[in-house]
């Protein structure tokens, strides 16, 4: 079984290797190879899952040590895997949703001439993401972390001929660097403090950390949070996610909705031992989560681009997860549960959006949609189920997972609990609003279709089966996953051995919270219907209020970054360049010139006459003799 873990990672890696080096002769079959290897990986995951289910709770963790990566005395980096319930959950999500999206991409990318390369990158992503969640130490995790960053960069910029895509890819990469530095510093701190990267070594030592180490642990926590912010698009490193929608839609669904962006949640949950020992870092985590869940939701309300609206929603939903993870043992399980259900419904929603775009000449502006429900019935139904799931319609997946997070937020207790709970409730209301807005603008109302740039009238049609089948499967997940997980608290029991779980003591009862969420749900939906359903949607966006305008510009995050970081950075580089030119170059060139001058003068001593040479030797000898005698004298 242990070998299977390695094969799980190796299969997509092999695919990436074949597809990216195979050349043109694989152009016709490359997508099939890629999809097959994703499915193989999924099959391995299912086998491992079945095996794990058959074991006692205590014996479920599998480890497999492959080789020593850096065998240096005092610095041992291992390549080893650890498959426990937490990793297993991720592995199933990654390979499952990943395989579905591979299948979907067969249809979606059918006319792209670089399709082979696309599947190569997708496989590369799967391998890196699996490495990330299976690593048994932070060093290897970092390799996976960078690997998914690379794959994300390559896929966002996949249509590199579009300047906007190239820029978006660069932006994602650069913003992620900031987070990655956090992770690397965190790992370095870990190594210098505890002398190891391995989960199995670090976590017990964290628990016994002494006074000064305690501060370091808090520092590590903050650094890991920074890393999570970068990868999971949390405030203040959120600005790249909206632009990342320049990538092909399957990429948005897989990487920027279901899996990679949740790596931050994984990191925090995996590092629960560190965060449990660092309450200050935990407070920072919940703050980031709460701010982001509102931030993303507000941005989602103002976007007319269907994918960007969904991106705002992703940010917001991950905010929920991060907040839950920051709550400690009360929330870890629900963070992961929401992560899984979100993986289903958000991937479904993105695939639906892709399907709509596919039928509408790649139009993304929702103000140019309308009345599509009868033209694309399957897309409408699956998207609709995803919609119901995300707003938390009773009985669907989102209802179970999000409700639990809101409960957990209240259960944190004290003023903090009230603030977090209220934020979560408010977020739920806004979620209901913006998702209803997306739903109405896309599928209801009258047609506001416009011909595309080349003057082709859109002829909306249902997408091919390779695209609709994954959507249907995901819709099943959106509907039933949450309920399934909640029967007998199955998910809590499943994950509890890894993350720990405690009920907390909520000042408000479960029923009250549920009732509250229902109320805000209805309010949100009603408001959206009042604004977009009853009135016709203008084809050109109205100017809107100050908040709307700010939200359209992602709440001025790019402006902030530009003014504070870019301008500041430009000033810094300009002064450094000045310093470099005047001071450093001056010193360097001056040194070079003086060495050259000295050389030229010394060269003249070498005049070719033996007599001069002999004199120099004589002088040298006199000097050496004198110096030797002098040494004795002093």
């Amino acid at each position: 079984m242990e070998t299977l873990i390695g094969l799980l990672v190796a299969a997509p890696l092999l695919g990436a290797g074949i597809l990216l080096t195979g050349g043109r002769r694989l152009d016709r079959t490359g997508h099939l190879i890629g999809t097959l290897l994703a499915l193989v990986s999924f099959a391995f995951a299912v086998v491992l899952f079945a095996d794990m289910l058959g074991k006692d709770t205590a014996q479920r963790t599998l480890t497999s040590h492959l080789w020593t990566w850096v065998p240096v005395e005092g610095f041992q980096a291992q390549v080893g895997f650890q498959l426990d319930q937490l990793s297993m959950t991720f592995v199933l999500l990654i390979t499952g949703v990943g395989s579905l999206i591979h299948i979907y991409s067969i249809g979606y990318m059918a006319h792209d001439e670089r399709r082979r390369r696309f599947f190569g990158y997708l496989n590369l992503f799967l391998a890196a993401m699996l490495l990330l969640v299976l690593a048994d130490n932070y060093f290897l995790l970092y390799a996976g972390w960078e690997g998914v960053g690379l794959a994300s960069y390559l896929l966002i910029g996949f249509w590199q001929h579009k300047p906007s895509a190239a820029t978006a890819a660069k932006k994602a990469f650069i913003v992620n660097r900031v987070g990655d530095i956090g992770l690397s510093i965190g790992i370095m701190l870990m190594f210098t403090t505890f002398g190891s990267f391995a989960f199995a070594d670090v976590f017990p030592k964290v628990a016994q950390a002494s006074g000064t180490q305690h501060a370091t642990v808090t520092g590590i926590g903050f650094m890991l949070l920074l890393a999570a912010c970068g990868k999971s698009a949390q405030v203040p490193l959120q600005s790249w996610l909206g632009d990342a929608m320049e990538g092909p839609t399957p990429v948005s669904a897989l990487i920027h909705a279901a899996t990679m962006v949740t790596a931050g949640v994984y990191l925090i949950t995996r590092s629960s031992a560190i965060f449990n020992a660092a309450p200050d870092a935990q407070t920072a985590v919940v703050t980031v989560g709460a701010v982001t869940l509102l931030f993303g939701a507000i941005v989602g309300c103002a976007k007319d681009d269907i994918k960007k609206a969904l991106a705002g929603s992703t940010m917001s939903q991950i905010g929920y997860m991060i907040m839950a993870a920051g709550l400690g043992p009360i929330g870890y399980v629900f963070a992961i549960m929401h992560l899984v259900t979100h993986g289903f419904f958000k991937a479904g929603l993105f695939l639906g959006a892709g399907s709509v775009m596919h039928g509408m000449n790649d139009e993304v502006d929702m103000r140019r949609y309308g009345a599509l429900r009868s033209y694309m019935p399957i897309t409408f139904v699956t998207f609709g189920l995803g919609y119901l799931a995300i707003i938390g319609f009773p009985g669907l997946s989102g209802f179970f997972s999000k409700d639990k997070i809101i409960e957990a937020a209240f259960a944190k207790g004290g003023g903090e609990g009230w603030i977090l709970g209220s934020a979560a409730l408010l977020g739920a209301a806004i979620t209901a609003f913006y998702m209803t807005r997306v739903m109405i603008m896309t599928f209801f109302g009258e047609k506001r279709w416009q011909p595309d740039a080349e003057g082709h009238e859109p002829h909306p049609h249902e997408s091919p089966a390779t695209m609709t089948v994954p959507m249907i499967v995901l819709a099943f997940g959106s509907v039933f996953a949450g309920g399934l997980f909640s029967i007998n608290s199955a998910f809590v029991k499943w994950l509890e051995p890894v993350t720990g779980h405690s009920e907390g003591n909520s000042p408000v009862s479960t029923a009250t919270v549920t009732a509250g969420t229902m109320v805000v749900l209805v309010v949100g939906v009603a408001l959206a219907w009042a604004m977009y359903g009853r009135r016709p949607v203008p084809a050109v966006a109205p100017r809107g209020s100050l908040l709307t305008r700010a939200a359209r510009r992602d709440l001025l995050q790019d402006d902030f970054n530009h003014v504070v970081l870019v301008r500041g950075g430009e000033h810094l580089t300009r002064s450094l360049v000045y310093l470099d030119h005047s001071l450093v170059d001056g010193v360097v060139n001056g040194t070079a010139a003086s060495v050259g001058g000295l050389s030229g003068r010394l060269r003249r001593v070498q005049n070719g006459y033996v007599r001069s040479y002999a004199v120099s030797m004589l002088g040298g000898t006199a000097l050496v003799v004198a110096a030797t005698l002098l040494m004795r004298a002093v």
């Binding site: 070079a592 060495v595 050259g596 000295l598 050389s599 030229g600 010394l602 060269r603 001593v605 070498q606 070719g608 033996v610 001069s612 040479y613 002999a614 120099s616 030797m617 002088g619 040298g620 000898t621 000097l623 050496v624 003799v625 110096a627 030797t628 005698l629 040494m631 004795r632």
Partner: protein
């Protein structure tokens, strides 16, 4: 001399046996005890050299070349095998001892350096034997050496010799004699053996320097300069030997060391000189000067550029590599075996010499325009780096110097072998401007030369880096941190001109009438390939050789 001999003879029997008692009269002449087996590397080389002379005298001219090349290679290989056999038997470590009545030490450094010199010599023979580079003279392949060394340049006699297709096959026995002297030099365990060895390897080198086929006047000028300055330095050495003898009453390393340490039994003769440290210090300084001349340290380096430039390039390569190995070996033994008790006297002085050598060698090289002169100054700078290792005055210092010498000698040989390939109508094109754009025309040759230059500069993954790291580490541990700092700065300056040549070769436009790269025979190709291989192996996996040098790093006393 005779007065002091008498004094010694009367003084003590344990003082140097062979030399002292030889003068005592026939009735007391003992049979010298010679350990032939342990001297076999030297004896083989000298024997083969004598056979070479006989071959030169008795073989017909057309057969000499083949006979000499085969003789030389076989002889050197046999000597190397003897070195290996001695090392296998433990003469480098546990069985190290002083042989030949106290004249020669057979120990780790001796065997390591002898092995290095012999390997270098084998490779040098390959470059000596190259006959494809020069255009054919009257239908015969000719090498880099004058048709007839004794003919005056430009004379009718020379023209006749060239027309007849003569070649100087004497170079091979000369090379072997030089090698023989070099083998003894680092092994010499008394001052007279040291002096004799010095002369034995220097004289053939003077002649070899004069034997270039092209630019004969320059070659002869170089030889005369080398001879005059070499004689001058020998005089210092000899005078220093006399002073040391005057101080200690012996030329034996062990005895001088004991007198310095005050552990020698007191005799009336010694009582006259004990406490007269001026004799000792001046003698020490002068002997050191003689050796510093051979390694090319500042201010005794001035012969190097002229001689390196004028000598036939294969000779330059051999001389630059092997002389340095032998001379540093002798210097190490002198400083570590004879004068350890005086290290507070010689260390500061040698510090100064090392610093001057590193800095001046590197600085002057910056403005050189001739590739052979450039390499000459580079060898001066390297002498400074090696001196830094010598000044560590520790076992790691010895082993780091041994490793550095082995690494450096092969890089040097290879680099000079490449220089022989780049030619135009006037022979080798050594002006740097002629090398512009060589990388475009002959990427392989340029790349190989770049490898050697990077090794000279001490870039990681080449032997130069491993060597420099070893000597600087030893020097730093030995308390010579300022030397290391100066060394690193000099390396930075040196890196400039090495990299400049690489830039010139690869990033400049080739000249229209630029030199062409001659296609060498397998001989030079093999020599260059060995150079590259050693450079890369010692750079990529130096540990085995570092361990070997470490094992060999103990002098027998």
């Amino acid at each position: 001399m005779s007065a002091s001999v008498t004094r010694v003879q009367g003084a003590h029997g344990a003082v140097h046996g062979l030399w002292a008692q030889a003068a005592a009269g026939p009735d007391r002449f003992p049979t010298p005890h010679i350990e032939y087996a342990q001297l076999s590397p030297v004896l083989i080389v000298f024997g083969v050299a004598c056979v070479g002379i006989l071959a030169e005298a008795f073989l017909p001219r057309r057969n000499r070349y083949t006979a000499q090349v085969v003789l030389s290679v076989v002889g050197l290989a046999a000597a190397f095998a003897a070195v290996i056999a001695l090392a296998e038997k433990g003469y480098g470590t546990t069985k190290a001892h002083i042989a030949a009545m106290g004249a020669v030490a057979v120990d780790g450094p001796t065997l390591f350096l002898q092995g290095t010199i012999l390997l270098v010599a084998v490779v040098a023979v390959l470059t000596f034997a190259e006959r494809r580079l020069d255009p054919m003279a009257h239908g015969r392949h000719v090498d880099s050496f004058a048709a007839q060394g004794s003919a005056v340049p430009g004379s009718d006699q020379e023209k006749a010799a060239v027309r007849a297709g003569f070649t100087s096959t004497e170079v091979f026995p000369l090379l072997l004699f030089a090698v023989g002297g070099m083998l003894i030099f680092p092994a010499a365990n008394d001052l007279l053996t040291l002096f004799v060895a010095l002369e034995v390897f220097s004289l053939p080198l003077y002649i070899l320097c004069a034997l270039a086929r092209r630019n004969r006047l320059m070659s002869q000028e170089a030889a005369v300069k080398y001879f005059l300055l070499g004689a001058f330095s020998s005089a210092f050495l000899l005078f220093g030997i006399a002073l040391l003898y005057g101080f200690a009453g012996s030329v034996s390393y062990g005895q001088i060391s004991r007198v310095i340490d005050g552990t020698a039994p007191m005799t009336p003769a010694l009582a006259n000189t004990t406490g007269n440290d001026a004799l000792l210090l001046i003698g020490l300084a002068m002997v050191t000067v003689g050796l510093l001349f051979k390694v090319g340290a500042v201010p005794f380096h001035m012969w190097t550029p002229d001689v390196y430039q004028g000598a036939p390039t294969p000779v330059t390569g051999f001389m630059a590599a092997a002389t340095k190995v032998a001379a540093f070996g002798a210097l190490l033994r002198l400083l570590y075996v004879v004068l350890p008790g005086l290290r507070w006297d010689w260390r500061p002085v040698l510090w100064g010499v090392a610093i001057a050598t590193m800095v001046i060698g590197a600085v002057i090289a910056v403005t050189q325009t001739d590739v052979k002169r450039l390499l000459a100054y580079s060898s001066v700078a390297h002498a400074g780096f090696i001196l830094a290792g010598v000044l560590a005055t520790s076992r790691t210092g010895v082993s780091s110097v041994l490793f550095y010498l082995a690494a450096y000698s092969f890089v040097t040989l290879g680099a000079f072998a490449v220089v022989t390939l780049v030619r135009d109508a006037g022979g080798e094109a050594t002006h740097l401007s002629r090398w512009a754009g060589l990388g475009r025309r002959s990427p392989l040759v340029a790349a190989v030369f770049a490898v050697f230059l990077l090794a000279f500069a001490g870039i990681p993954l080449t032997s130069g880096f491993a060597g420099k790291f070893a000597v600087f580490k030893a020097a730093a541990q030995g308390g010579a941190m300022p030397l290391v700092i100066v060394g690193v700065i000099s390396s930075a300056i040196a890196a400039f001109f090495y990299v400049r040549v690489i830039v010139l070769m690869f990033f400049s436009e080739p000249k229209v009438d630029g030199p062409s790269v001659a296609v060498p025979s397998p001989l030079t190709s093999t020599a260059i390939a060995i150079g590259v291989a050693v450079t890369l192996v010692l750079g990529l996996a130096p540990q085995y050789f570092l361990d070997l040098a470490d094992k060999a790093g103990v002098f027998v006393r």
